[in-house]
């Protein structure tokens, strides 16, 4: 389970979150939408303990106010900028968590698993030995996704998983996220601007606006909602006639 109660976060004079509360039930997929710069990535970082919230409670997998290292075993995270370790080749990025810690795997097995995860995000074995700087932005994003899902963590966070991908690849990534949630039973929170991700991946939808949850409900409600702001967001303003 992922839950946040009344999260507040400011950077200096700039207030980003003004009391965000949300819950994602186990096995459920929440998609968070909202305008650029409304604090979606900051919300994610507050949930993960990467940025300390100024106020409010977080509970992830039963851990209250979790620190990042406590979450590592439970959580896979795709960063908006992929955040690959640029000193390591692709396969070691993907297999990072398998190569360390008490239950570390032999390198050969870890590499095999990494190549398998790369295949799931549409990358062939030939990229395994490249370095992140040798990849395109969309390829980096997919390596980041492979790194997030390796080891099958029960809770997943994706920050704009399809940004920078072509429509075919984006569809494939959406199906991957869907299958990770429905087959493996993972709990997922996905930030996106991509309405196809919303319709393919979401069970529930939350919209962030002015530092608060402006709207939340099921996917079907979101797609048919008459809430003007949500409606404009979902349809891209097409039906409101605004330019």
């Amino acid at each position: 389970m992922i839950s946040a109660q009344d999260l507040h976060k400011s950077f200096g004079a700039k207030t980003v979150l003004r009391g965000v509360s949300l819950t994602v039930a186990p096995g459920e997929s929440l998609v968070v939408i909202g305008g650029s710069g409304t604090g979606k990535s900051v919300l994610l970082k507050c949930l993960l303990g990467l940025e300390p919230p100024d106020r409010g409670q977080v509970d992830i997998a039963g851990l209250k106010q979790p620190r990042p290292h406590e979450l590592a075993a439970h959580v896979g995270m795709l960063f908006q900028g992929a955040a690959l370790f640029d000193s390591l080749p692709v396969w070691q990025n993907v297999a990072f968590r398998l190569l360390r810690g008490r239950h570390r795997m032999p390198r050969g097995a870890a590499r095999e698993l990494a190549v398998e995860k790369l295949a799931r995000v549409g990358l062939g074995p030939e990229v395994a030995d490249l370095f992140p700087a040798e990849l395109s932005g969309g390829m980096q994003k997919r390596v980041g996704l492979a790194r997030a899902i390796v080891g099958n963590p029960p809770i997943l966070f994706f920050d704009e998983p399809t940004a920078g991908l072509d429509p075919v690849m984006a569809g494939r990534i959406n199906r991957l996220i869907r299958s990770v949630v429905s087959e493996a039973g993972a709990t997922a929170m996905t930030i996106t601007h991509d309405m196809r991700t919303l319709s393919d991946v979401a069970d529930k939808v939350a919209m962030l606006r002015d530092g608060r949850i402006h709207w939340q409900g099921s996917r079907d409600e979101a797609l048919t909602s008459r809430d003007p702001i949500l409606h404009e967001f979902v349809t891209g303003g097409a039906e409101t006639g605004e330019t």
């Binding site: 970082k45 990042p68 290292h69 075993a73 995270m77 908006q80």
Partner: protein
């Protein structure tokens, strides 16, 4: 009257700014000390042996040429200067020993430290700062790796271990520089020069310089990692972190050098 009030207001504002500056500086030193303490507490298993080895090569081995050249030329110049000075007292015989003492106690560690500060504090701050602004540090933390333990500790240990060796090599080269000038330009006889050097050089002269080197090495790596981990806001932030790391490392080396000299040699 007007002029006096504005002058007074300015003076007050200046005092206020200075006060705030001082408070800010003290707070900053406090944070640095806290960071240094955190690094010390993080020296515990699991040790990053591979990273330590890499950093020993990057920080130690690859700094050797620049430290050696610095020491060589400094030793040569030092011998000339000491000769010029000692000639005023007809004490030219002291050139070899004073050159050596000046080199191993002061100039070897200080100049070696400053060169390593320029080379290593900057590259550590740029590398870690880039990792910070591209969220790689966050990604490390999400993999249960503590950036202090994983990145700072191996760099600080490597610098701490490598610097005494660099200083020792620099000392040898510095003395060689003095020897070269002594024999080629000042009319010393080679064996006499070396005998004078070794005869008057005491264990503590050398040891104190090596200890200084270790301290300076740790300060350099601490400054680099401290500023790297605090970098914010893209390429500009990395640039600022790099600059701050070099400035801070250099100033701390000079300050620490004075304090250690007081500690070791004041009566």
């Amino acid at each position: 009257m007007m002029a006096r009030t504005t002058a007074l207001a300015r003076a007050t504002a200046l005092a206020g700014a200075t006060g705030r500056g001082t408070a800010g500086f003290l707070g900053f030193l406090g944070r640095f000390a806290g960071f240094a303490g955190q690094v010390c507490l993080s020296i515990r298993p699991p040790f990053q042996w591979r990273e330590l080895g890499t950093q020993l090569v990057v920080i130690g081995w690859m700094s050797l040429p620049v430290v050696a050249l610095t020491a060589l030329f400094t030793g040569a110049a030092l011998a000339l200067q000491i000769h010029a000075g000692s000639a005023r007292f007809n004490a030219e015989f002291a050139v070899p020993s004073i050159t050596a003492i000046g080199m191993v106690r002061e100039l070897g560690p200080v100049l070696g430290g400053l060169m390593v500060a320029a080379r290593v504090a900057s590259s550590i701050a740029a590398e870690i700062g880039t990792m910070k602004v591209s969220e790689q540090i966050d990604a490390l933390r999400m993999q249960a790796l503590d950036p202090v333990q994983f990145l700072a500790v191996p760099r600080v240990l490597a610098a701490l271990l490598a610097m005494p060796v660099l200083v020792a090599a620099g000392n040898a080269l510095g003395i060689m520089g003095g020897y070269g000038v002594g024999v080629a330009r000042l009319g010393f006889d080679g064996p006499t020069y070396l005998r004078n050097t070794l005869e008057y050089l005491e264990f503590w002269d050398v040891a104190s310089g090596l200890i200084k080197g270790a301290v300076f090495g740790a300060l350099v790596a601490l400054a680099g990692t401290f500023h790297g981990l605090r970098a914010r806001g893209g390429a500009q932030g990395v640039g600022a972190a790099t600059k701050s790391a070099v400035v801070m490392a250099s100033v701390m080396i000079l300050a620490a050098n004075y304090l250690l000299t007081e500690l070791f040699f004041s009566a």
